[in-house]
Symmetry: C2
Subunit: 551 residues, 2 copies
């Protein structure tokens, strides 16, 4: 499975730009399913459709700085989108279902991120019925318009028809984002035929309904209204996201700054992220000139693609070992440039938020993350986030006496990028989450910004888990990796999902922490996924057989 694509080869979406308003039209090719066995009727989608949507959302931010409103609409008659394809879901393995939902959730969160942080507000122009995942996609938009024609409506029919939950944030967004009263939300989620017209507005399920004759004009007006609120530059030139150079063999995935070695024997991936060979360009104009070759953006794209590739294609490689290599000073110099210009340069702002989203992807990845901080590494600033995202980190005290006794000992550095610009899904930085309830500890760390910290100091400050010396290093690391590889993969997923979301809760943490867990449980139950379960029997004309016991 490959996540790289580009606008010119989309099969399911049309992207048109007209001044400040872009229109993203979902027009799914029925015969364009990723695998055999189902037709993508009624604008239903599979992972392939969502990979294109993700690509479009990304390109809108980087390639179209003038776009301030994105109208998301359907290209079919009478149907906006029927949601995830049921036959695809019914036939999918449990890991595929879960992975599919995770990615679609991330894309919908990305739509909200564009609205909140990029000045690109998404407007759902629901020009037909939006059911299940189709309505959930609309729910990720800031403003929902529904055509008022007596047949179009919105619905979440998963529970009554399929015996599962709406899997991409619908339940959470209904009650926590749109603040629909929970008893109405309950009724709505059991009413397969949906709700339209004025009642959909009264219940806050959409923001407005518009009769068909006024539809196009109303959508256009609303889109321009929303555009007027944006502070995006009107005259900036976008940068092109060029095809990502990637080499993939059975045991390695290589990009320019990111390398992954797949070790099937130990069921681990060794990932090394490299600092740039040169410092940042002195001028912003040169930064724009570099475009997607600018190190932080290049790195973000590579890491993003690697995470998606490994998550989808390498299910049995349960531990990701994170290393860095190169000059910490250079990393911090790029970071400082990003922090200095996030507020006054649209591209810098996009790059910072992209790094943020990529690191968030790591947080919700169901793999054990182990950071190894060794001589020659550059866990500084934005790259230190990799160690802070890890479940455990080891920093070598001293050097490898048998390897390179004259090396500089490994150091880590806290930088400005660790203090705000890269929050987790819980709304806190990884440092704030790490020092939850420990104000003094957090303050002590903030006082060491820019100071290279050797292992003992980093451990004393609480920034790394363990700081073994050369004598203990190999054994400690080996035992951790061997243990990790021997544990129940399911229990590790549950453990990590609970620990990584400490502190406050947000829409995002609720979606990934709770909604996803319940959905995974349901996906694993015979009542949904068994041969007589609702998901498998849908469309066969035979009713599901349920074990009636409530759990």
């Amino acid at each position: 499975m490959e996540f790289r694509t580009r606008t010119s080869v989309y099969r399911h979406w049309q992207l048109t730009v007209d001044g400040p308003v872009a229109t993203l039209t979902m027009d799914v090719d029925e015969q364009g399913g990723l695998v055999e066995g189902y037709e993508l009727k009624l604008n239903s989608y599979d992972l392939g459709v969502d990979i294109e949507l993700y690509d479009a959302v990304q390109r809108l931010r980087f390639e179209h700085p003038q776009v301030r409103t994105v109208v998301l609409t359907g290209g079919k008659d009478r149907v906006f989108s029927a949601g995830a394809n049921i036959r695809m879901l019914a036939a999918a393995t449990h890991p595929s279902k879960v992975n599919f939902c995770k990615f679609t959730n991330e894309t919908r969160n990305g739509i909200e991120d564009a609205t909140a942080n990029s000045g690109q507000t998404y407007l759902a122009a629901i020009n037909g019925s939006a059911s299940g995942g189709g309505y959930e996609l609309a729910l990720a938009c800031e403003h929902l318009m529904l055509v008022d024609d007596r047949s179009s409506n919105v619905s979440l029919p998963e529970l009554p028809l399929l015996g599962v939950l709406p899997g991409t944030g619908g339940l959470t967004r209904i009650v926590d984002k749109r603040l629909v009263r929970r008893d109405r939300a309950d009724y709505f989620a059991t009413k397969a035929e949906g709700i339209g017209g004025r009642k959909a507005v009264q219940w806050r399920l959409v923001d407005e309904v518009v009769p068909r004759p006024q539809w196009d004009e109303s959508v256009r007006t609303r889109a321009l209204d929303l555009a007027a609120r944006s502070h995006r530059p009107a005259d900036a030139a976008g940068i092109e996201l060029t095809p990502l150079a990637k080499e993939r063999t059975d045991d390695a995935i290589s990009y320019r700054y990111v390398e992954a070695r797949l070790d099937r024997t130990s069921r681990a991936v060794e990932i090394t992220v490299s600092a740039p060979a040169d410092g940042p360009p002195a001028e912003l104009a040169a930064l724009h000139e570099q475009g997607d070759a600018y190190w932080p953006l290049a790195l973000g794209r590579e890491l993003d693609d690697l995470i998606l590739d490994l998550r989808t294609n390498e299910l049995e490689l349960g531990t990701w070992i994170l290393r860095t290599a190169g000059s910490a000073e250079r990393v911090l110099a790029f970071d400082d440039q990003l922090v200095a210009h996030q507020d006054d340069d649209w591209l810098v702002n996009e790059i910072v938020h992209y790094l943020k989203r990529t690191l968030k992807r790591l947080d919700v990845t169901s793999r054990s993350l182990i950071a190894l901080i060794e001589p020659g590494s550059c866990f500084a600033g934005s790259l230190l986030e990799l160690a802070l995202a890890a479940d455990r980190s080891f920093q070598l005290a001293g050097v490898f006496e048998d390897g390179d006794p004259d090396a500089e000992p490994a150091a880590i550095s806290v930088g400005s990028m660790n203090l705000g610009p890269l929050p987790m899904g819980n709304g806190l930085t990884r440092l704030q989450t790490r020092y939850l309830g420990d104000e003094a500890g957090l303050k002590a760390v903030a006082e060491h910004v820019g100071v290279p910290l050797l292992a003992d100091d980093a451990e004393a400050l609480g920034l790394v888990t363990f700081a073994p010396d050369d004598i203990d290093w190999a054994d400690e690391v080996r035992i951790t990796l061997e243990e990790r590889s021997a544990f129940s993969p399911d229990a590790l997923t549950g453990l990590e999902a609970n620990y990584r979301f400490a502190g406050p809760e947000t829409l995002e943490t609720k979606i990934f922490g709770r909604l996803t867990a319940w959905q995974n449980w349901i996906f694993n139950r015979p009542n949904a996924a068994g041969p007589d379960g609702a998901l498998r029997r849908f469309g066969t004309g035979r009713r599901p057989t349920f074990d009636r016991k409530r759990v």
Copy 2:
């Protein structure tokens, strides 16, 4: 399964009281398991052990007002508690496992509630190794003391040994209550042999370690320190929680104020809660005199027992229909008495918190809750909470013309008990949760305190879901109940678990909303519960076989 017990018949716990300090000693009878097939070695527990613990925690609050510190300790040599019995868990059905974890979680939350709201602070005197659920029990205490003898320690060995999660709040309490750094928490939860001594203190796993020679004296001193902080009255007389009168047949459960009719055909339970026959006693002394016959307390005990009974014994009765009968004025009069004296009378305070906990039990019950508000009902104040806890409520507009055309139409009343004393697990009242983000709506409701609201007004204010009239009532209710009974029980559980926890998150909502969902998923996976899974293979000398795919 029966939840009623009393101190004199405990098999597993000893409760002794010495002035302001009670000692609750866990000394599990190996042969005292609830069902055949396992021995409760090493102070491991099953539901029967926990039923006694719950009873003791309740009795301490009501029968022992002078107790200000409860020392929770072990009665065995070298072991505090080994946690939930593994053979019991391995043999249990999926619903039994989940139900067992829910009840144990509620009891541990009750321990925290006693510490926070009752002036009875729990001190864990860990006089031996505390593993898994044994340590989780200690984590529910306010202050954790561990004996420092080189062998005693605390551990969460579930993941490495059993391939499941610590199921009673351990992961959440570690990172969100005790604020253990997540990488340390990760290490701890994979280290089956546990952590003791000074490191356990440094990592915040316990509050202090004490050598054996100083143990008894130190525990005593600390217990008295904690007692000194409490405002419980020194000279009050407790009230006895007398045996609950209960009649149970195959199709009905009856108490004095609570009736349940079990309808196995429609898979529903019709529950009717009755108002008292008389008003509240005029004086507090008379209230104390009434003891557990005082209506709000009697009602709380009956409802509590009914919820536990139905949850455990009637898995296929998936819908609970909630009705009330009697005088709303009398309900409100009792409520007003409770609110007026919660701050100055320890017993009133206990009763209010008990009602709160009982209603919270309803919130986490995996059954659909439908409130029917009909003529003759008294959904007022504390009883209105039943309708607010429901997934949907129906209030009849007018009367049943064919039944009793001269009846007073059904009315509901908001009272002082709806405005604060009975918060949900998310820390908000049910009204605040209902009107999340709708300050105006909440204010409008608060302006109607004490006003009987007929169906149309209640619906307009947003207090009930639907207000059908006589003509539509029967059909609307019937369709709802039939639908509910036809839907996938698992999907309903997931739906309700997500909707009922809108708004802010707390330790409690994280435990029931997220931790529980992940644990349920893991419990349902072959890697844990299958014939070759870790839970089933534990103790056999054979290693589990895992599907290595990460989900």
